[in-house]
Amino acid sequence: MDGTFLITIAELVLKHGVPTVIDLIKTWQVDTSNISIQDLEDLKKQKPKSFRDMLDDDS
């Protein structure tokens, strides 16, 4: 993070106000919903098909 970035943010605050900028910053946040080990194991089971399998299914 450099000074230019902070100055840009400061300019946005001056131009659009604090609430707008906070809303903007919030959109940068990732989904922080709790991911359990079960979710990860489920994700592993939901393995996508390989391109070859997709082609076989398609033909």
Binding site: L6, A10, L40, L43, K44, K49
Partner: protein, 132 residues
Amino acid sequence: MIRRKTIIIIAMCLVSALLMGNKCDRDDFLGATYNSIKTMDIAHERSGQVLIDLKKQDVVSAEIWERAANASDSYLAARDVLIDALIIYADSSKDNEDANKSVVTAALSRLDVIIKDILALVNTFLDNPIRI
């Protein structure tokens, strides 16, 4: 003038505080990585569909198809490695959390490189490139 400077300083403090607050803890990191995998899976599937359509139209040569299919196999293998590393990380004690996080980060980078290679290949045939 003083007022403007004060506002700028306050804004900088605000942004710094928000950014610090966003610093990833374990849940955030797990959530972000989980979402990345989901996003890359979508890109992988979409790429496969596009390539199969192009293959049917004989736009894609057998050589290109083989390259893409091999990349897809690599993607799936790297995905397994990443999820295994993520499960170990999720179950980490405080002592080995950082080391396990590094393993996840490396595995995520590997998956990212593979999916970007696949997209680069597919996008050469598309007017509207697939992006992640």
